[in-house]
């Protein structure tokens, strides 16, 4: 799939490639017409909604479970059920065990990072009006989901500083298969 003419790549690239730990195919990428236009910091900030486990990407704002309950009961309960249980959508709470014949996978038993709640709720929820919650509302609903799973107190404020420090019960429950199973 690579351009044969460039298979060996520019000579100056070779040490850089070793440095980057890439395979030789990188150097064989066809030449780019370079039509990308520079993206401004403002343009990036307007689109960047990724939130990482270390808290990178979390916006200013705050919320507690007490505030979050009112929002959840208004906007989330129709699919997720009272206290995140018994709805048409996946179970969000309820405890239980990951072993045995009927494992209970929910936020409290399974999700490894609290930041994932903020990332996902802000970008995707509620299903009928995604991106409609304010940052404070997302913090509050996140706090509520942590609270109904017994992870934070109902008055604990979730913000860019506190949320990444929440240790989820299943934080160490995952075995990373990649890169042990590289395709080639």
């Amino acid at each position: 799939m690579r351009n044969d003419r460039n298979r060996s790549g520019p000579r100056w690239l070779a040490p850089a490639l070793l440095l980057f730990g890439m395979n030789a195919a990188v150097a064989a990428a066809p030449e780019s017409p370079k039509l990308g236009r520079p993206a401004s910091p403002g343009e990036i900030a307007a689109q960047d909604i990724n939130v990482f486990p270390d808290g990178a990407g979390l916006p200013p704002g705050k919320g507690t479970a007490l505030e979050g309950k009112a929002i959840f009961d208004m906007k989330c309960v129709s699919c997720h059920g009272p206290k995140g249980m018994g709805g048409s959508a996946g179970e969000l709470a309820g405890g239980g065990s990951l072993t045995g014949p009927h494992p209970d996978k929910n936020v409290g038993t399974y999700w490894p990072y609290a930041t994932t709640l903020f990332d996902f709720i802000r970008r995707s929820m509620p299903l009928d009006a995604p991106r409609s919650l304010s940052e404070d509302q997302v913090y509050a609903v996140t706090a509520y989901l942590l609270h109904i799973n017994g992870i934070v107190d109902e008055r604990a404020e979730m913000n860019a500083g506190t949320l990444p420090r929440v240790v989820m019960p299943n934080r160490d429950g995952f075995v990373q298969v990649w890169p042990g199973e590289k395709a080639e």
Partner: protein, 425 residues
């Protein structure tokens, strides 16, 4: 005795139990049973009236062709949440298709919140994060870039998950294994764009994001992005369909499809995965120990017999053509074995050329069914030597609650009356 049988008497002798014949039978000209059937057809037609469609002018031209009205059953079945019709799946009817290419209108779908109707003139791709030059590309820009084409499968990590059920599901094969499709994808090697942006040495992951109402995001290792990832603009020669990512999607050959992000709008280079919902709460596989496998990107080798398969019916003993599909995320399919006696003996199937890496591979084998009940199985082996496991071996290793990445050998029971059902055997 046919001419062929007279020339090569060994070819029509079974090579394994249950009446499996030599795969080379299909490579010879003038198949014994094919030629005979064609002759009978000719004679019947000679006696009949000319059909009405030969006695009147046909339909006029069409701007975009559609399937014959007689093929109304070759459709995707939709399984969506009734409360959220844009959240669900639709299946490729593999039992209605032959060869290796999936027609664009039948490619499987998985949407998290519906199909966005995107104006390509307003859609852009942003690359930022750990890059030297944050860049933004319009679709018109990307259409001017060097392009590659490759045929490869796209398979949902949750495909075939009914295999984990305690009882074998009884449904046509497409609605069991059809969260997999195969297309020719054409677009810009992602490496070209990443070189232009200049990845920094500490960039290890790319966080891809779609422009749908779920803003679906997921983390992709830089190694895969630089190796063979494609920014796809075309599918089977035409621009992407809206439900398959129009105007721009990622294709990561051989990896679970959730990573081939549709409606791609943003790539953030990062030193860590974002740990999105779809790489933590979903697309991870719970093991009996309570631990879960994460970042299980590669789709392991799988094969399924599409004919005969449940819902189809054999009309009495005689010669048949077993046909099926095999694929592996690790590379090319090296061999497909078929058993017609529940796995006691195996015969090697013929593979349709070309056999391409990370691509559907059609296999076929002639079979003389004597009308007795039996169990058909197919077993794929890929070029790395990986052998598709029996169900009991897969379950012994993974338990029954992993949900994703089910790839065990599938068994079809053929009854004396010619009906086909799914069994665990």
């Amino acid at each position: 005795m046919s001419d062929q049988e007279a020339r090569e008497p060994g070819l029509l002798q079974p090579v394994a139990g249950g009446g499996l014949l030599d795969r080379r039978l299909f490579l010879k000209k003038g198949l014994a049973f094919g030629a005979g059937a064609a002759l009978v057809g000719h004679m019947r037609q000679g006696l009949a009236e000319e059909p009405p469609w030969m006695k009147t002018p046909g339909e006029p031209f069409t701007n975009y062709g559609r399937p014959s009205p007689h093929e109304k059953e070759a459709i995707r079945w939709i399984s969506a949440n009734s409360g959220a019709p844009g959240n669900g799946i639709s299946w490729t009817p593999l039992h209605k298709l032959e060869g290796i290419v999936t027609p664009n209108g039948l490619h499987f779908e998985r949407h998290h919140n519906g199909v966005p109707q995107i104006d390509p003139h307003q859609h852009r791709l942003l690359i930022h994060g750990l890059v030297e030059n944050p860049l933004s590309f319009g679709i018109e820009d990307l259409l001017r870039y060097p392009m590659v084409s490759r045929l490869c499968f796209v398979e949902c990590g949750g495909n075939s998950n009914a295999g984990w059920h305690e009882e074998p599901i009884q449904t046509p094969v497409g609605y069991f294994h059809g969260l997999a499709s195969c297309s020719e994808w054409t677009g810009v090697p992602l490496a070209v764009i990443l070189d232009e942006a200049g990845l920094r040495p500490d960039a290890r992951w790319l966080i891809a994001e779609g422009a749908d109402a779920a803003a679906m995001n997921i983390s992709i290792p830089v190694e895969k992005a630089m190796d063979d990832a494609i920014l796809a603009l075309y599918q089977n020669g035409e621009r992407l369909r809206p439900e398959n990512g129009y105007p721009l999607r990622l294709i990561l050959p051989g990896w679970e499809a959730v990573l081939s992000v549709k409606w791609l709008r943003r790539l953030q280079a990062a030193n860590q995965p974002v740990m999105a919902r779809n790489e933590t709460a979903k697309y991870t596989e719970l093991l009996p120990s309570g631990k879960a496998r994460q970042f299980t990107f590669v789709m392991d080798a799988k094969s399924i017999i599409t004919f005969p398969s449940p819902g189809q019916h054999l009309r009495g003993p005689g010669l048949y053509r077993i046909s099926g599909l095999a694929w592996s995320g690790r590379g090319r399919i090296k061999r497909v074995d078929i058993s017609a006696d529940g796995g006691r003996s195996w015969a090697e199937a013929a593979l349709q050329e070309p056999v391409l890496p990370q691509c559907f591979t059609r296999f076929r084998l002639p079979w003389r069914w004597d009308g007795s009940p039996l169990v058909l199985k197919s077993r794929a082996v890929d070029e790395t030597g990986y052998v598709q496991p029996e169900r009991r071996a897969l379950i012994a290793e993974r338990g029954r609650h992993g949900y994703f990445h089910y790839n065990a050998i599938v068994s079809w029971a053929v009854a004396a009356d010619g009906t086909v059902s799914h069994v665990y055997a």
